[in-house]
């Protein structure tokens, strides 16, 4: 018990009981950290199967085609730059510019999803084809669900941007969605390396 002098008020005084914008971001970052652990667990599971399963590729399957998925990867990853431009435009108060970049990000996300759908449709194996098929569809599907969520959230934010005075109290929603989008992109990069690059 050495504390005898009052120490400087390190905690912010809360004059208002509603969820502050900065609380929202704190909470959202905590949530994203937790969410990333699900992916870590799935990645670990994939790596264990890949290195130790006696039956890996289903009969007749040689591996995955890399070039086409790489194109869609480039689209998705570069959309992280585009969403940054959108945020910057918003901070500078250029609302229409923000909407344009934002819409472009959504479109790039959608292109990625279409690309994934096309790839799925063309693959010679399915969910039930051993632990390889199951892992492939589960991982890409779970990530795809996150991309879809991101696109839908962006749609919501876009619609909200037309509400007058929407950004008077700051733009926490936009910041949170863009954080989520960066998260989804980083996860994809790891996933791509794990599934497409690490084949041999």
């Amino acid at each position: 018990m050495t504390i005898t002098t009052p120490n400087p008020a390190e905690a912010p005084a809360h004059s208002d009981h509603a969820a502050h914008g900065d609380h929202t971001l704190t909470g959202f970052v905590i949530f994203l950290l937790s969410e990333s652990v699900i992916f870590l667990a799935l990645f670990a599971g994939y790596a264990i199967y890949k290195t130790s399963s006696p039956l890996w590729l289903p009969p007749g399957v040689e591996g995955l085609e890399v070039i086409e998925p790489l194109r869609f990867t480039v689209v998705l990853v570069s959309s992280s730059g585009v969403i940054y431009l959108a945020e910057r435009a918003l901070h500078r108060g250029r609302l229409w510019q923000f909407r344009a970049w934002w819409l472009l990000t959504m479109a790039m996300g959608a292109v990625f999803l279409v690309g994934q759908g096309l790839e799925w449709a063309a693959l010679p194996f399915g969910l039930g084809d051993g632990v390889y098929g199951a892992s492939f569809y589960l991982l890409t599907g779970f990530h795809g669900l996150h991309v879809l969520t991101g696109v839908l959230l962006m749609g919501l934010m876009l619609a909200r941007s037309f509400r007058p005075g929407n950004y008077d109290a700051g733009s926490v929603g936009v910041t949170a969605v863009s954080l989520f989008w960066h998260f989804v992109d980083v996860i994809w990069v790891v996933l791509f390396v794990l599934i497409y690059v690490w084949q041999r």
């Binding site: 018990m1 504390i3 005898t4 009052p6 120490n7 008020a9 390190e10 905690a11 912010p12 005084a13 809360h14 004059s15 009981h17 969820a19 502050h20 900065d22 609380h23 929202t24 704190t26 909470g27 905590i30 949530f31 950290l33 937790s34 969410e35 652990v37 699900i38 870590l40 667990a41 799935l42 599971g45 264990i48 199967y49 130790s52 399963s53 006696p54 039956l55 890996w56 969910l127 039930g128 051993g130 632990v131 390889y132 098929g133 199951a134 892992s135 589960l138 779970f142």
Partner: protein
């Protein structure tokens, strides 16, 4: 605010009625509404959890009824499998987690001087998922084939068998319920951690925070790191069960051991999610009832995080006999034993606090003392189990059942009872009856020793767990355990009677009936909807200043007077 504080001078500024709850019905019906006030949500959690304590207790009575004779005569062995699966699942996910979240909701905001949680609506949504998955889990008694019989571990391949072929079966509902429980817990964890990080009263640095809040952060951190892993494991299980994948089936290249890793990566730390807040409760109560500062406050606070960290790297001790390689067994034996260090530090701090103190043996104090006593015993059997050669021998016997019930019931549930007796006056505004409380304690203490001690003996003699019938050589221990369990059933009667009658017509509680130090005791009983509202005290010293004669907050007398005034005026 020790008893030496002179009577506060009257201050007309405080003559102001407490704020009414804006827009909320101020009667029992608010407990059935989507109320966003953390104190209402806290009581909602508690009442729901106590209901499920009765459900889980009833299931255990049926099991003990079955086990009072060696033959499987009361229920069919398949039904017995369903009973222990549901008993374990109900007690963990519908009793302990919710009741501890009840404590978090009730205690965290007042203890740190916040008006509410950081995200009140998220908080209410997290609570309302509890009755939803409670109903889903209970519904598995009604589906064809009955509830899951794969135990609370739900190991494959047993948990992916679906002999009747229905899509909606007991195991499916179990996975659904556990998944919803996980989502609800994550929502809660985000809320509690954000609240503690961002909403502390001015002057309340981390090292002026009550230990309960430290343990809450430490426990919720485990939820945030561990639950996602369980979720991943459960999703794969669901796919294997319902969509024909083979993640855990060797026929398709899968591996059942991976499930065990996923499961225990969370479910070992989960025991610390439950025990850490109870360590917090003990650390709050001993200083109050021994009238001494908590011994080694800083070390106790830090030890909580040491436990969080270590609890994440010991899970394989549940898999010593599952075909785990020897190097892995050795590694995890060492890490498991290490966790006894921070845990032991806490026990020594409590003993140091009690040493030479003026003990007041209230019901809350009796339950705390009993809880620590039992915990020391369980810690010793834990170290025994952590030792690989011992565990190979007694793993999967009743020794393990004895060990973990001594923790989960005789420590954690004791702590929960202690917390209820201690904080009941604060949050209901009524005192509980001490006489009934002590009767509850005595019956519980005798009942739990009678139930769980013989289990250790039966286990050392070799009685396997999860069986509906057993060799007659184990009969004596089992008769004792069954009688003890029925006594525990009887012990809940004075408890429930006490809760209901005190709440309805108990004596009105003053703001600080135990003469305790802490922000929550500077509020009226029960506190107004937003605790201190805009008049938040500035904290000027560490917690637990018993006998040190220095105020906790700036202008303390004014707050004491204000609380006293609001209580009498109510």
């Amino acid at each position: 605010m020790t008893s030496t504080t002179p009577a506060p001078p009257f201050d007309p500024r405080v003559l102001k009625a407490p704020h009414p709850v804006p827009g909320a019905p101020n009667n029992w019906r608010r407990f059935l509404s989507f109320n966003t006030d953390a104190k209402v949500i806290g009581l909602q959690y508690m009442i729901t959890a106590l209901f499920f304590l009765l459900v889980g207790g009833l299931l255990s009575m049926i099991m003990r009824g079955e086990l009072i004779t060696p033959a499987a005569d009361l229920v069919d062995p398949t039904v017995y499998n369903g009973l222990y699966t549901m008993h374990g699942t109900v007690m963990l996910f519908l009793f302990l987690f919710p009741i501890l979240n009840g404590f978090n909701n009730l205690l965290i905001p007042p203890m740190i001087g916040a008006p509410d949680m950081a995200f009140p609506r998220l908080n209410a949504a997290a609570f309302w998922m509890v009755p939803v998955f409670g109903v889903i889990l209970m519904a598995s008694f009604l589906v064809p084939g009955g509830p899951s019989g794969a135990g609370w571990w739900a190991y494959p391949p047993q948990s992916i068998q679906n002999p009747l072929g229905h899509f909606i079966n007991g195991q499916f509902l179990w996975i659904l319920a556990v998944a919803l429980s996980g989502i609800s817990s994550i929502m809660g964890a985000v809320n509690f951690v954000t609240t503690i990080i961002r909403m502390r009263a001015p002057g309340m640095g981390w090292f002026r925070m009550p230990i309960f809040c430290w343990t809450a952060v430490a426990a919720q951190a485990i939820q945030l790191i561990g639950l996602p892993v369980l979720t991943a494991g459960a999703v794969l299980l669901l796919f294997d069960l319902s969509f024909g994948t083979s993640f855990y089936l060797p026929e398709g290249g899968g591996d059942p051991m991976l499930y065990q890793h996923f499961f225990w990566f969370y479910s070992h730390p989960a025991v610390y999610v439950m025990v850490l807040p109870v360590f917090g409760i003990f650390s709050e109560l001993f200083p109050v009832y021994a009238r001494k500062p908590l011994f080694g406050y800083h070390v106790v606070a830090i030890a909580s995080f040491a436990i969080t960290f270590l609890s994440l790297i010991v899970w394989v001790h549940h898999m010593f006999y599952s075909g785990t390689p020897q190097w892995m067994r050795n590694l995890f034996m060492v890490t498991t034993m290490l966790i006894a260090v921070p845990t032991g530090i806490k026990v020594f701090a409590w003993i140091g606090t009690l040493w030479g103190g003026k003990l007041r043996l209230t019901t809350a104090m009796l339950f705390s003392l009993g809880g620590v006593f039992n915990f020391i015993f369980a810690g010793i059997t834990g170290i025994m189990l952590a030792t690989v050669p011992v565990d190979i021998h007694v793993g999967n016997t009743y020794f393990v059942v004895g060990h973990f019930h001594t923790v989960i019931f005789s420590t954690i549930t004791y702590g929960v009872f202690a917390g209820i007796y201690h904080w009941f006056p604060k949050f209901t505004g009524r005192m509980m009856y001490e006489g009934l409380g002590k009767l509850h304690f005595v019956l519980t203490f005798i009942g739990s020793q009678l139930t769980f001690l013989p289990m250790h003996a039966a286990g050392l003699m070799g009685m396997p767990r999860r069986v509906a019938s057993y060799d007659p050589e184990f009969a004596f221990a089992n008769v004792l355990a069954s009688l003890g369990a029925f006594l525990l059933g009887v012990a809940t009667i004075p408890f429930l009677l006490n809760l209901v009658s005190s709440w309805v017509r108990g004596e009105k509680a003053p703001p600080n009936p135990w003469n305790a130090i802490g922000l929550e005791w500077l509020l009226p009983s029960p506190p107004p909807a937003e605790n201190f509202e805009h008049d938040v005290p500035t904290v000027i010293s560490g917690p637990y200043g018993y006998g040190l004669g220095r105020p906790l907050v700036d202008d303390e007398e004014r707050f004491v007077a204000k609380a006293a005034n609001a209580s009498t005026g109510a």
